[in-house]
């Protein structure tokens, strides 16, 4: 299932395309995506960010803005959709295309692994960058830790499993999570900056 981006995509276009690619790698969702036909849009309730998703026989195209022919429009605080206490999104047009709307909701929330599985996938990406630390230790405050890369460990990340999962699965950005106090770090500013950059890139598809 091809996921195409508009020329010169916005960050939200990249983020949504990354989610769709993850969904397309999941067999059940890939089947669902291939059957989807129609135009959907996601609109932020807190700023002008918006994307249109055009599902066609040969793939899905993601572009900025809300297209006039969007049949299903989801309005939400897009940056907080993965929060456990996020308000329920408003959906318009679902009554006319209920199956399409249901599939849309599913493919926009593809399944993720455990925080350890997601951490390994993130690290496989982030460690390619020459400025990343050689090794990181991830400590789950609810128990368990994981060492990635090579010793000596140059950076430590601590947090609850949900925050670690959100970061490593590309739902949140390291710097913001540190500022918000959802995650803690032991390491240099240099590595914090570089890993924040990697987490941003990870969120937007690498």
């Amino acid at each position: 299932m091809a996921v195409r981006l508009e020329d010169d995509p916005t960050p939200l276009v990249c983020i949504i395309a990354t989610k769709l690619r993850r969904a397309a790698r999941t067999p059940e969702l890939a089947v669902r995506m291939r059957a989807m036909r129609g135009v959907a849009a996601l609109r932020s309730t807190v700023d002008p960010q918006a994307v249109t998703l055009r599902f066609e026989a040969d793939g899905v195209t993601v572009s900025r803005g809300v297209a006039p022919d969007a049949e299903v429009v989801i309005s939400a605080d897009l940056m907080k959709m993965s929060d456990p206490d996020a308000p329920k999104p408003k959906v318009s047009g679902a009554a006319r295309k209920p199956k399409f709307a249901l599939s849309l909701a599913k493919v926009l929330e593809p399944p993720v692994g455990t925080w350890q599985e997601e951490a390994r996938a993130f690290w496989a990406f982030a460690s390619q960058h020459p400025a990343s630390p050689r090794g990181i230790r991830v400590v789950c405050l609810e128990g368990g830790e994981l060492v990635l890369g090579t010793e000596p460990v140059e950076y430590e990340l601590h947090g609850k499993a949900a925050a670690l999962l959100a970061l490593f699965s590309g739902d949140t950005v390291l710097g913001e999570e540190l500022l918000a106090g959802h995650l803690y770090a032991v390491g240099s500013l240099q590595h914090t900056a570089e890993l924040t950059g990697r987490s941003l890139a990870w969120m937007m598809g690498g």
């Binding site: 010169d8 900025r64 400025a131």
Partner: protein, 458 residues
Amino acid sequence: MEPESLEAWLDQHAIHSVRTEGVTVDGLVIGKVLSRRKFTKSLPLGNAITELVFGYDVGGTPYLAWWNEWRRDALGDYHQQPDLDTLVAPRFSPGQARCIVDHVDLQGNPLPVCPRSILRRLTDRLAGLGFQAKAAFEIEFMVFTESRAQARRQGFRNLTPLTLPRALGYHIDNTAMATRYMDEVCRRLDELGVPWEAWHDEAAPGQLEINVEPADPITAADHALRIRQVTREVAHEFGHTVTYMAKPNEEYGNGLHVHHSLQRDGSAAFYDDARPDHHSELLERWLAGLMATINGAVSVMAPTVNSYRRMVGWAAAPVTPSWGEDNKSTAIRLLTRSPGATRIEHRVAAADANPYLVLATVFAGGLAGLAEPIPLPAPLAPAGWGLPPSMPHLPATITKAADAFAADARLREQLGAAFTDYWVNTRRWEWLMFNTTGGDASATEVGDWERNRYFEVM
């Protein structure tokens, strides 16, 4: 000025403090007001300044997405090394001198992202080849009669231009309306030693332009820096507000055209009397370098999201990678009427661009043309606006331009890898900030996000 003459100079002008003025890549002027004792004591390295000033954007948000080798991990200090040749004692600030500085590390080495040092390096490179460059900027800006506070309250919208609220240009009634303000600006420029030649009413309501005598490149950029400061300071005292935003409203935008020429042994190196078009071989090689690097250069010359609002067809700004003989619709305009007047006008830069980096990028392109043979494309004969999409166009967004800059090996070689990487990261960051902090990526007109971010600081 030699350091040993400094105390006598400070005595002569009854100086009790010195304002240091350094420039960031975004063109923001940063510095301190130092007591005379502190200023002299801190020489030759200059006063310390936190390295964090190179680590945040024009909105004040720290760059937390990459690092640079030259940065200090614990957010230590760098220094503002005074260029004593720029020390001035204007009468309008009695007792307080002003001095332009370079940003250096603890050992006195120029920071790779110090725009003034980058320009000096390229100017020195030219000198090593036997050339002396001269340059002059055309400084465009807009003045509104609301105070800064009032303009802010209005969200920088629906402001009252200092001149008539309609696009005219060179209109003497407009000139008269701006005269009291501009007389004070020019008086102060005289005191600062900025050799202004002329000012006039420009095309947009409230838009003015100042022209300056050509000077060596560093001095030319210093002049631009000081003009920006003086126009702001006088506006503040008059209860007005000034902006160097590329496009603060839907009228014509603000540009920063720069003229430059090369001399060798006192002769115009771009001029060849023996050729019918008067183009010297050097000019054509230089021009080929400028053309080969122009797409990447756009990133430096159009540094903000707002810069690209100005670069639309039929709005006086160039939109194509083009050159032409006395053609103001092209990106690069050649003037070769006589040896003394022979020069290149680079017309891409917006007023929100950093003048040091604009000139450095121009010289980087020219030097690339001298370093290797590059084919010179044909001049653009027709108007450079309204051309079909199939013809080459300049990058039209901050991301496209950053990509072009990142991919340009010639610019990287001339401007340095450390600066190039930092610049590309900061432009992509600016795109991220625009999209994720309230900017509207689908908007075709100037938005509130842009005005709030750029109006007062650019």
